[in-house]
Symmetry: C3
């Protein structure tokens, strides 16, 4: 339990770093970078909690905001170093979305959502911070353009709900489902896999 | 009551179709189309419920998400057929916004909002899904550009609250107010009526 | 207490005026102007209340919506007069963001948020209406571009939480913190102060 809490804080910090870095590509002042980092880090989980009619966790637990502050400072101070760590950051992100998806599914089920809503809310937890970030920065949301991203989260969320309904051991399920998200994401980027375009 | 529930599911599906079709005009992958369909279908009602401090209905009742899934599949599979049904879809939309407006006003009053807030929340129920859709797709929201749309919802919402405060029979009121929204909308499009521009 | 209520209504009206005026610069119809005025006026406070898991005040108290309606009408009817009052409106805005920040911090603390969350939520109360307005109008949010704005709110919010934790007299604290926001904002515009750009 303790461990999950610290992973959650770490994941929040990593998302804040990625949000602040996205903002810095837009010639934005330091407040804008912090604001974007904050929104990216808490957007998905907050939206899930609001849909569940709960108070987002950062409203009560100040540690999340401190983790975000740390993430923003790291992004601003070590900008050029981070630029060279693109591959590492990508791996962190792939692990992060897996973790946030599974935590999101669990929390939704724990607060009595339907199984299918838990799938949607788990995926939201992982990707909506990025959607809000892109909308604020006036870009077409990345999840509309990028290699399989939200779909990886969706797959892991469906797996978790399915195994959970079969009564599979909880920790094993969490481990498997998180891995599935991360692995699909990594393979998709490595082999440039994408979903079919349906428009045009 | 049963009937209203099925109309609500049908309306949700129609909104999902229109959302997915809007996304497909943007060269978006199949996940993006599904995501946009989902947001369009649940955006307005969810926002109303959040303002009323309630859990959106789709979090507890999985049928809404299944209706959305069906709508997205219909949009993707029958894209070219739907393209030729523009007039039918327009009529469905005109009926749908009337229905959602009145349902939204009712629910707000039932949960003790003020009358004027019920008017706003009823209109929101019908139009905010589209506003979020347009914002995500990085367009100026349609309600800022189009022939009388939200204004039709506003008129029906005001009528419902007014007649309701006079103690008019509830079913009659719902029927009249829904009709007013749909008729104003249809006349506005037929005769290209628009509100005066105040800017420039 | 009474006085605070009327200042709150007045502030809401001023924000509605500024929102409607921003919309009118976009060749928008009268409904779009009213909608934008509404969103600008209630966006920040509503977001704060949703994060606190409360019903936004305007859902229960119709006076807020009447104040917004009045603001929109003033903006539409006296557009050219208001154009010549830019300096007065700026002063009202500088006072308004100070007031809304402090009210937001207080309310968050009163509903048991952590101190650091109260700072964020106080700043949100003052600036998020404008962020949503700009996003709807498809512009890069002003707080990403403008002279010190949200940062002024942040400074006042930090001051209020700090003095409050020291047990300083509540009214004195509110007066000091509001003034700090307004004065930082006025000085920043007068001397064209801006935060350092971190991007590029």
């Amino acid at each position: 339990m303790e461990l999950i809490y610290y992973i959650d804080l770490l994941g929040t910090m990593v998302f804040a770093i990625s949000g602040a870095m996205a903002a810095m590509r837009h010639n934005i002042d330091i407040f804008g970078a912090a604001f974007t980092g904050f929104v990216t880090a808490i957007g998905g989980g907050s939206l899930r909690d609001i849909f569940l009619n709960l108070r987002p966790v950062w409203v009560d637990d100040g540690n999340y905001l401190l983790a975000i502050l740390a993430g923003v400072l790291i992004a601003v101070l070590f900008k050029s170093v981070l630029g060279r760590l693109a591959r590492t950051l990508f791996l962190f992100d792939a692990l992060g979305i897996g973790f946030f998806t599974v935590v999101g599914v669990q929390k939704s089920l724990a607060f009595d959502s339907s199984g299918i809503a838990a799938v949607v809310l788990g995926m939201f937890s992982a990707v909506m911070g990025g959607v809000i970030r892109d909308t604020l920065l006036n870009e077409t949301p990345l999840i509309f353009r990028k290699e399989i991203y939200a779909t990886a989260c969706l797959s892991g969320a469906i797996l978790f709900v399915t195994l959970n309904s079969m009564g599979i051991n909880y920790n094993l399920n969490a481990f498997l489902s998180t891995s599935v998200v991360s692995i699909i994401r990594i393979i998709a980027v490595r082999y440039k896999l994408a979903l079919p375009i349906v428009g045009g």
